[in-house]
Amino acid sequence: MTTFNTFRNLFGLSTDAAAVWTALALAVLVRWGWLKHIPW
């Protein structure tokens, strides 16, 4: 919880924070194979 709060405070509850957390979550999903072969 402390780590989470540190990160939350670091990025602030803003559009920037939401964008960073979303991108990191997507990167994790892609890295561990839950999201594969995203087409374009």
Binding site: S14, T15, A19, V20, T22, A23, L26, A27, V30, L35
Partner: protein
């Protein structure tokens, strides 16, 4: 003083209900996909009829469709909250784009960009301040135009407005001028880039240095090529990172003239104004540099970044309301236009010279 309505995306606290933002996001997706469909259809038509049709990127179609919708039938308020998320998609796209840069490249290109950004900011501030005085604009409006055109458009103006205690009306004038000129850049810059046979690198860096608003800078790069978009995003991110320094300098200067009072520490001020998504970009780039992602995963992250930008570009068109921009009067626009032309020419020379000497 009363402010003039500018088509600015509202900043909503997070998290929002999906019911509130859903319709607008759906509209962004439909317009973005329509742009992609038009690009593909034209390419297929040209191929099947053996015609050499110019390739107009989906980015421009998405922006034009959004622009047409906003300025003809208009947009129902139910879509506003979702359209306002375009800034979120832009920043998510830039953070994900970090996977396509190794940290060494970021250090090298970002370092070169930062050097160019420093020169660009100094010259832009001087140009705009001179023009503002020459055209008799008030001190606050001149400062806002100078900050908006030298650093990063709308967010810099909003950050500076609070720091120098400028009127809402001055901020609205400056935002209108920056947004109008950003819309023109989308059409003019790629045409000049193709005419001068610029490389993806030089065009991307030029867009990142000379186009003011981040969404328009990335879109201008994307209209030129996919690779140019990558460099435009990097150069613009380097420029955005300077926002705190420029706004702090203005805040201290204004405080010295006793119009405003500067409170708190300078380091705290810089951190508050620093665009934090830049850290996310560097984090993803660091992970890519230590081969945290394999080739297929890097490609997937690159494509996720493209999907995020697709929603952003639709939002750029949808928020551009010609009638609201037209209400702002001619003088700030003329000052902005003259300043932007000078800055565009200056940065073009700067980028071409640096590419020549650095042999990019």
């Amino acid at each position: 003083m009363a402010s003039i309505a500018i088509p600015q995306p509202k900043q909503y606290p997070l998290p929002r209900s999906w019911f509130e933002i859903g319709p607008g996001i759906l509209l962004l997706a439909v317009i973005g996909l329509l742009g992609k469909l038009i690009e593909r259809s034209i390419a297929l038509y040209g191929k099947s009829h053996h015609l050499h049709l110019p390739n107009v990127e989906y980015v421009l179609w998405a922006i034009l469709i959004g622009f047409a919708v906003r300025n003809t039938v208009g947009v129902h308020p139910i879509f506003d909250a979702g359209i306002g998320t375009y800034d979120f998609w832009l920043k998510s796209g830039i953070v994900l784009l970090g996977a396509r840069f190794l940290l060494g490249d970021v250090a090298l290109i970002g370092g070169i960009s930062l050097g160019l950004v420093a020169v660009e900011i100094a010259v832009s501030l001087a140009f705009m301040t001179f023009l503002g005085r020459a055209f008799g604009l008030n001190r606050d409006l001149t400062a806002l135009l100078a900050i908006g055109s030298s650093v990063c458009g709308v967010s810099a103006i909003i950050a500076a407005q609070g720091a120098i205690d400028a009127d809402d009306e001055d901020a609205s004038f400056a935002i209108a001028a920056i947004l109008s000129l950003g819309a023109l850049s989308l059409l003019v810059f790629p045409a000049i880039g193709h005419w001068l046979h610029m490389s993806d690198y030089t065009f991307g860096i030029w867009s990142g240095l000379a186009v003011d608003n981040t969404a328009e800078a990335v879109a201008t790069g994307a209209i030129f090529s996919d690779n140019a978009q990558k460099f435009a995003a990097l150069a613009k991110t380097a420029r955005n990172a300077m926002i705190g320094f420029v706004v702090l300098a203005y805040a201290l200067r204004w405080a010295a003239t006793a119009k405003t009072k500067f409170e708190g520490s300078k380091a705290g001020f810089l951190w508050k104004k620093f665009p934090k998504f830049v850290l996310g970009f560097l984090l993803i780039s660091s992970l890519a540099s230590v081969q945290f992602f394999d080739k297929a995963q890097t490609a997937s992250l690159g494509n996720l970044s493209r999907w995020a930008f697709l929603l952003t570009f639709a939002g750029v068109g949808l928020r551009t309301d010609v009638r609201a921009l037209g209400k702002q009067g001619a003088r700030p626009f003329v000052v902005g236009f003259l300043g932007e032309v000078l800055i565009a020419v200056f940065t073009l020379g700067l980028v071409l010279a640096s590419a020549h000497y650095a042999r990019f």
